[in-house]
Amino acid sequence: MRPLAVFALLFGLAAPAAAQTSQFKGLAAVSRELSTRIAPKHAPLELDRFLPAEDLDVLLGSWTGFGGEHNFKNGVPNSLNMVIWHATLSRFAAAMGESCATPRMEFHPRFGATLQKVCAWPAPKAQSEATLTAFWLALMGYGAPEAEYVAWRDFFRAAYAGKPAAETVAAMTLAIAMNPHFLLHK
């Protein structure tokens, strides 16, 4: 019993603080979630194409193996991975905004319909509760508290009231994608 207690004590003392911090889901997981929500099954969304350079996905949180050990690496937020997330998601968001005029990616029909409604911005229909809720849930999913949606909705209704659709949709997308509820494991 005693060796076990010593082991437990040592292990307890050494429990990494990183385990007490939510980490990024990683590009692969975020890409998969988004794809399920907005892309058709036959044409999954690959966020890799929006990375500023190849091979940077490993810096956004990824699994590595070492013998029998498997660890999630680079998942703790830092200045560099925030730069890369911002660059990647800005490019994705810009493509979403441009899709108001010409689709830049293939969308699931249901999301495509939602996007078209938001693309009527700043028309009142685009700013309606139903349209904004549908757009938010399509991208964010159901993991964020309602307060996050309310803050997002109110910000865009106020700050983007008279702005063009492409700019607004891109900004809306980026604001959702950079939210901790979208990027972090819970």
Binding site: T64, S79, P180
Partner: protein, 457 residues
């Protein structure tokens, strides 16, 4: 026309004539940005490199006596330190001879008490705990040390290392090719701007979620800190100059590290050599001459590149960088029951070799030693207690005041009498003015591992 040599190209670049190695930060700017520039480069020999193929070799007579494998088959030579202590070095280290006054050899370094796994010893090297914990690397970049912290604690221009540490959030993998492509794209993108309403909104949501306890809030806090530093990192990375396509990988690595140091992107760098030194089978062990030939050539390339890369008008990168070369442990001399000409080797945490050089370090010394120096040497009772089969070499007792091995054969093991990795890390801590409250202890209820004052320049 004859192609210019690499040295000529480097000098041309250093004079501002090219973009190969010259960061956009001019030497004068670099000097202004760093009042007392000091950086740290850790080069890792992954897998447990056998010191017998570097600076803790054994005579061939010991192989003939069946005690230690030697697949090189060449007699080692005396590597005499300025302190009068001689280590036996494998002929494979000769490419490092031009740098012999620049670094010191630490032999017989005791690693993890009681564990011989890769991960446990790598954890011990980085964190002083076999299960992981706080790595020493970010400690070198703390504001409390008296230097303005760099944006990142370290860059690692190589594959990720298997190590469980909890404070490497600002130790990031960044290979030269990815860094170049990233720099090119970041030049075209706007950094996250403070004052921009959208940026402020996004930051506000991160801040709101960072309040309070819990893992999610802690993650959001890290995001917030990341956002705070992101514009500066964006601007710094955008200044990186792509490595020359024709440059060798080690030159490109040294170039990237130098640029990151000069532009205050990072205070430290971790470079893991691509060779993997874990050679349990005879077939693997027989590859060691080739493995070490390649690895030592890489080391020499990196040192040469750092020597030739200017930090400012007076100093090269090697003048402002402390460099440590380490593996997680050494290796056994052989495996029992296998013939000496067809044996692999296992892990040995009782004796490791470490190279320490550069800024703040007295070069040209040989510090410490391992036992069983020849086939006639006797093992101490302390050694027999830890390694009854005598398959391992073990660090001899060490006189910290005189910085010399003690030629005694103690009956019992006392870690306070041995040179440990704790002393090596505490010496690095002393160089970087890290608070003594962070010094590694020799164990529970034991004092801090002694700093190797004789190694400090």
């Amino acid at each position: 026309m004859k192609n210019p040599s690499r040295r000529q190209i480097l000098k041309y670049a250093a004079l501002g004539g090219g973009t190969l190695l010259m960061p956009r930060l001019a030497p004068r700017e670099a000097r202004a940005a760093h009042t007392d520039p000091h950086f740290f480069l850790l080069i890792v020999l992954n897998g447990g490199a056998d010191p017998a193929y570097m600076f803790d070799a054994r005579p061939l007579s010991m192989t003939r006596a069946g005690r230690i494998q030697n697949y090189l088959g060449q007699e080692p030579f005396g590597w005499r330190g300025h302190n009068g202590i001689t280590a036996l070095a494998s002929p494979l280290v000769k490419p490092l001879l031009p740098f012999r006054d620049w670094f010191s050899v630490l032999n017989g370094v005791y690693m993890t008490p009681g564990f011989d796994g890769h991960l446990q010893n790598m954890n011990f090297l980085f964190a002083g705990n076999p299960f992981g914990g706080e790595s020493f690397i970010p400690h070198l970049n703390l504001a409390e040390n008296g230097q303005p912290p760099a944006s990142l604690d370290a860059v690692s221009p190589s594959d990720a290392l298997g190590v469980n540490v909890d404070n490497h959030s600002a130790v990031v993998s960044l290979n030269p090719w990815a860094a170049s492509a990233l720099a090119a794209k970041l030049k075209q993108l706007r950094p996250i701007q403070s004052g921009d309403p959208l940026a402020e909104f996004m930051r506000g949501r991160v801040r709101a979620n960072a309040e309070g306890p819990g893992r999610f809030a802690a993650g959001a806090q890290r995001m917030l800190h990341g956002l705070d530093g992101a514009p500066e990192v964006h601007r710094q990375l955008a200044k990186l100059v792509p490595p020359h396509l024709e440059a060798e990988p080690e030159q490109q690595t040294a170039d990237l590290i130098s640029q990151c140091f000069r532009q205050s992107i990072a205070r430290a760098a971790i470079y893991v050599l691509p060779e993997f030194f874990d050679v349990h089978s005879a077939e693997q062990a027989k590859t060691q001459p080739k493995l070490f030939t390649t690895a030592i050539a890489r080391l020499a390339e990196i040192l040469e590149a750092l020597d030739e890369t200017p930090f400012d008008a007076q100093r090269s990168m090697i003048d402002v960088t402390t460099i440590m070369v380490a593996s997680e442990f050494g290796r056994t001399m052989r495996i029992a029951d296998a013939p000496i000409h067809a044996t692999g080797t296992n892990h040995n945490s009782l004796s490791n070799s470490i190279l320490l050089g550069g800024k703040g370090i007295r070069g040209g010394l040989v510090v410490g030693a391992s036992d069983l120096a020849n086939e006639r040497a006797q093992a101490s009772g302390a050694h027999r207690a830890l390694d009854p089969a005598l398959e391992k070499t073990m660090g001899t007792p060490f006189d910290f005041a005189a910085m010399r091995p003690i030629p005694e054969l103690p009956d019992e093991f006392d870690i306070e009498d041995h040179l440990t990795i704790g002393s090596v890390i505490n010496t690095v801590y002393a160089l970087f003015n890290v608070s003594q409250s962070r010094y590694r202890s020799l164990g529970r209820n034991l004092p801090a591992a002694p700093v190797l004052h004789g190694l400090l320049a």
